[in-house]
């Protein structure tokens, strides 16, 4: 039997895997690494992160949100971003790194990829700072200022990457940035090419030049129109690909250059009344239509968890069953 890592490589290289790659199994995510996450930690909490963005999680809600009323919006005027936005330091003490380093050391790298985690993404950072509406309009109204802001976020990401690489020597990177709604990309391919592609070429290029073999990018959305750019940026696996993208067709068209991880929409199977039968039905359809190469069956959710207890585990169990049935 191939190790998880070997099996993954067979899938993305078009070789002969001996089973489906089961969701996130090949990634050993080092979540202990010190980072500045874009969320409030628990229901009923509100935090201001190091970028000055306030995240609120009202007690009766299922998740947290960046706040953009006049009082809380971190960036109120894009033309004045140099005064209003200050990137936090990327330096943490050895003590703060200790748990992450110990975790990375404990991983058998023949079996799994030691995986660094990065969120939010560059595009997300712009709308967390200033709200989605302001960020999207600024792409038209103040393109130069937006490019400068994006460059500034890139500088921060590169500096943070250097620290992560120094401390845990990751083999893979799992990087979030949601680029669309379920039926369209947020911005046009041309605009994406102008603003976002150059930023990620730098960031992903840097990780790859420093020992990272695999770039997994999360966008749980439609983004089929952006796949050529994903390839250009150096993304090896697009995680979160929703069924609205027509994944089987994407695999036919681009599979040799990029692998698709998803095609099981969390929205359809991950809810309070979930059942194994429903998960089986969606997962089987995904596996049968997408096939064994360039495809990893996975919930669209951006981490190895589900919103409702048991759904992630049940999905893994179903994929094991399908491996037995189909290999």
């Amino acid at each position: 039997m191939l190790t998880k890592r070997q099996n993954l490589m067979e899938v993305i290289k078009g070789g002969t895997p001996d089973r489906f790659v089961n969701q996130y199994e090949f990634m050993e995510l080092i979540m202990e690494a010190p980072m500045d996450l874009p969320l409030a930690p628990a229901p009923g909490t509100r935090v201001k992160n190091k970028w000055g963005i306030t995240f609120d999680w009202p007690a009766d809600q299922i998740g947290s949100f960046p706040m953009h009323d006049e009082e809380h919006k971190a960036l109120k005027d894009i033309t004045d971003w140099k005064n209003q936005v200050k990137a936090p330091s990327v330096f943490y003490t050895d003590e703060e790194w200790a748990a992450a380093e110990a975790h990375a050391k404990s991983v058998d790298r023949n079996d799994k990829f030691v995986t660094a985690f990065c969120a939010p993404g560059i595009f997300e950072m712009t709308h967390h700072l200033m709200s989605m509406e302001d960020a999207l309009m600024a792409l038209y109204e103040e393109p130069e200022a937006m490019k400068e802001l994006i460059d500034y976020v890139v500088e921060y990401e590169l500096a943070y990457a250097a620290e992560v690489i120094k401390h845990i020597h990751p083999d893979a990177l799992f990087h979030h940035d949601d680029w669309g709604s379920q039926i369209s990309s947020f911005i046009s391919p041309q605009m994406f090419n102008e603003f976002i592609v150059p930023a990620y070429k730098q960031v992903y290029g840097f990780w790859k030049a420093n020992g990272v073999e695999l770039i997994i990018h999360h966008s749980d959305s439609y983004a089929a129109n952006l796949v050529p750019f994903m390839i250009e940026m150096g993304i090896d696996i697009w995680q979160g690909v929703m069924t609205t993208n027509n994944v089987p067709e994407l695999i036919k068209k681009y599979g040799e250059k990029i692998t698709f991880m998803g095609d099981i929409d969390s929205g359809r199977v991950d809810f309070p009344g979930w059942t194994r039968e429903k998960i089986y039905e969606d997962t089987k359809k995904a596996c049968e239509e997408c096939g064994k190469l360039y495809f990893i069956p996975c919930l669209s959710q951006g981490l190895n968890i589900s919103s409702f207890p048991g759904v992630y585990e049940a999905t893994s169990d179903v994929i094991d069953q399908l491996s037995k049935e189909m290999f």
């Binding site: 299922i62 989605m132 039926i183 046009s188 359809r268 991950d270």
Partner: protein
């Protein structure tokens, strides 16, 4: 190109700095305010259709809506009290338990551009608040409920049921990523639309039926 054609083109292109001046020029040329408004409504209709067809994206829609609202500012003082230009009031909100508002805001802009007066209740709106808003505002024709989470689908159902129970004649439309036409029918909504452009078409259709 006549001034009014220019207004149309610039609204479509989202030129919010140019539109107010052009609107003024169109008025100076002798166009009636209602005529200029109608031209802008038509441009936003084109914008909505292009968005539905996937030809343009969210930023293009946002800047077009902004350009139109700049133009409307010029017209407003001239049209105050002229209720004949409005299709009625539309109350909109994201249902209880849900904080997503990007889609709701776009829908609101497009319905407003189609000629409605909007009352935006924001996010996390309890069913009763929709009913209260109908009582507090005049000429409410449409209630639009947005929901993005599968977990808040029951709240969507409750919102529709509560509004319909209190005001059977008011039309309720629903939408949001997990909402399907089947689900909309099942919960008793009068209309569904998959995107902001078609939401405006639907609202107009229901209000003028």
């Amino acid at each position: 190109m006549s001034k009014i054609e220019e207004v149309k083109a610039k609204v479509e292109a989202g030129k919010s700095k140019l539109v107010p001046g052009l609107v003024q020029e169109a008025l100076d040329e002798g166009s009636a305010p209602a005529e200029v408004l109608q031209a802008m409504v038509e441009s936003m209709g084109v914008v909505g259709d292009k968005f539905s067809a996937g030809e343009i994206f969210v930023p293009e829609m946002l800047i077009a809506a902004k350009a139109m609202s700049k133009g409307v500012e010029v017209l407003k003082p001239l049209m105050a009290g002229d209720g004949s230009t409005s299709l009625g009031t539309c109350v909109i909100g994201t249902v209880a338990g849900d904080l997503h508002d990007i889609g709701k805001n776009l829908v609101s802009m497009m319905i407003e551009s189609a000629g409605f007066d909007m009352v935006d209740l924001g996010v996390d709106v309890p069913a009763d608040t929709f009913v209260q808003a109908i009582k507090d505002n005049t000429n409410v024709k449409i209630v639009a409920c947005s929901g993005l989470l599968t977990t808040t689908m029951p709240a969507l159902k409750e919102a529709v049921a509560t509004v319909k129970a209190a005001f059977p004649d008011i039309k309720v439309i629903v939408g949001g990523a997990p909402v399907t036409p089947e689900y909309a029918a099942e919960v008793g909504a009068d209309g569904y639309a998959p995107d902001a452009g078609s939401a405006a078409v639907k609202a107009r259709e229901l209000a003028t039926a």
